[in-house]
Symmetry: C2
Subunit: 337 residues, 2 copies
């Protein structure tokens, strides 16, 4: 059965989610590099969500949603579908609650994401994504037959509230640095993290949240322009597996439309450079989908007005072959090793 | 002229250094991975000093020492010798103080360390390490001729106090987790970080600091056993450039001898595995010299008694070719990707 996931998420929900995360999640650092700042010509602050439990911000939402369930519902089991980061997060959050979890994952997900999800103790059910199978219908059928609660990756108000705790931390970390004006670039798939951070920063007029997407999967960018939920066509491939989603979420889009600034999009080639820069300057391992925000700061500089830019580095679960490819990328001269 | 570097460092010096570092250095996170804990069979907490400003803990000591100098002394300029991490730290700390810095570096230092030190604005003077030139005599001569203050990499009480701030943070971070018994494995070259953390933890009887070195450069291990400063012979090579030092420091050894538990040593092969594990499980870029502590937790498990082990990940400044080599290392089965 589905969780109560159609409620409108409010700021109080974020604070409640944060309470539940206390002592379980990581208050991730906001990092910077003087040489990177110099190269970009702005102050670039990296919210290092790759250091979050299970290697991505997704643990915030997964824990928030599972811990919000009534005990009698939770113990029957949890079901999720995910390309990998929500999968690992749900698997581990369920394991900490000592309840069973089943995760529906695409058969072309990164090997490390599949292996980790199993290692956290979840039952992984593969579906044929390239062949066109629908994870939504497989997930709904499994939830029904097993009596598990489906926790969607972004269209769930407790998930959005959990992701928003990242935004609460950003606000505090900026305040500690006496920064009240900044653009916050958020790696955006279905919009859970983006909407959550937008809610967290709503009361801060100097902070603007801007979604960042892969150029060929810029559904949010187009949707914000048209004012209605636009879809991607799936004819192209992107290395940004974590944020390749069909369309903005039903719950997340109205929040993004109400609160976000214009979106940005970046090429896969620029994402590889951003991964190399994060390695070089920040000593962080960032996966492609978690590097689009930094890539925008590096390559869409002209479209960013503020002197300070916050980039979410939303995950770090990347297979070694792809990471090595990033390290072998030829960097533009201003970003040389 | 040399700074006043022969004073015995005391706990109060650490607290003063921490005051000076406030708002300049990073309070680095203490991270863990449930899958790593499971593989090791202990709780493994990583003090992520690779996320410190300039990519290593060395910024703590550099800032501590430079900020402690009288303004009239400081503005004449700073001189240091270093294989690379102290170099970058001194270069950037001097730049923040707007004073000139000259750094004596070996001609076989990692390319990124040489480039970064120059990019932070320092004048880099190369010496022929493989050819047997002495950095100490070159440094002393330059300090004399230029009127600069020499800040040694570890035999300086303000440097030791600065590195000790890492230990103050570890104590607080363990307390926040209700942990009062742990072995703290510290990547050890000349002993500045090890001695500093040992001073910070002296009042905590449940915490034991243990130096970790490369197997062929285990001068501290042998010195702790013999009770006198033993030297390394320089016939072998180690990938752990940051902690390949001739002998324990004159100031650091008495502190280590008084306060530390027995030392551990690890092979270069095991260091490469530790770097891969840090990539895989913690999303951290760790250089070889910064990975010896984690390598000891992984491979010297039988020599560690406590259920909780803290590993300093002391730096992340590693060239991409060597990092790629680590990612291509075959992992033992229990640590597979």
């Amino acid at each position: 059965m589905p969780a109560d996931d159609s409620r409108t998420t409010e700021l109080a929900d974020l604070h409640n989610a944060r309470q539940r995360l206390q002592g379980v999640g990581v208050n991730t650092p906001l990092l910077e590099s003087p040489l990177l700042n110099e190269a970009v010509g702005k102050r670039v602050l990296i919210k290092a969500e790759c250091l979050q439990v299970t290697g991505s911000f997704k643990f915030r939402g997964a824990w928030s949603a599972i811990s919000a369930l009534p005990e009698s519902t939770r113990r029957k089991g949890i079901l999720a579908y995910s390309s990998g980061n929500h999968a690992q997060a749900i698997a581990y959050a369920a394991a900490l609650h000592n309840v069973p979890a089943t995760i529906v994952m695409p058969n072309d997900a990164p090997q490390s994401k599949l292996a980790n999800t199993r290692d956290y103790g979840a039952d992984v059910v593969l579906y044929d994504r390239p062949g066109g199978e629908s994870r939504e219908s497989i997930g709904a059928a499994l939830a029904e037959s097993r009596g598990y609660t489906l926790i969607k990756p972004y269209d769930n108000s407790d998930v959005i509230a959990g992701q928003g705790t990242c935004g609460l931390e950003i606000c505090e970390q900026l305040k500690a640095r006496n920064i009240d004006h900044a653009e916050i670039l958020v790696c955006c798939g279905g919009g859970g993290l983006t909407a959550g951070i937008a809610l967290a920063t709503e009361a801060h007029p100097g902070l603007t949240v801007r979604p960042v997407e892969p150029a060929d999967y810029n559904d949010v960018q187009r949707s914000l322009l048209s004012g209605t939920r636009e879809s991607n066509n799936h004819s192209t491939h992107s290395i940004c597996d974590a944020i390749v989603t069909p369309a903005p979420g039903v719950l997340t889009f109205p929040i993004m439309h109400r609160l976000c600034g214009s979106a940005l999009s970046v090429s896969d080639a620029n994402v590889l450079v951003a991964m190399a820069i994060a390695y070089q300057r920040l000593k962080l391992v960032i996966e492609p989908g978690g590097a689009v925000a930094l890539a925008a700061a590096l390559f869409n500089n002209g479209a960013i007005e503020s002197d300070t830019v916050v980039c979410t580095a939303s995950g770090g679960n990347v297979d070694a072959t792809l990471f090595t490819q990033a390290l072998n990328t030829t960097l533009p001269h201003s970003f040389r090793f």
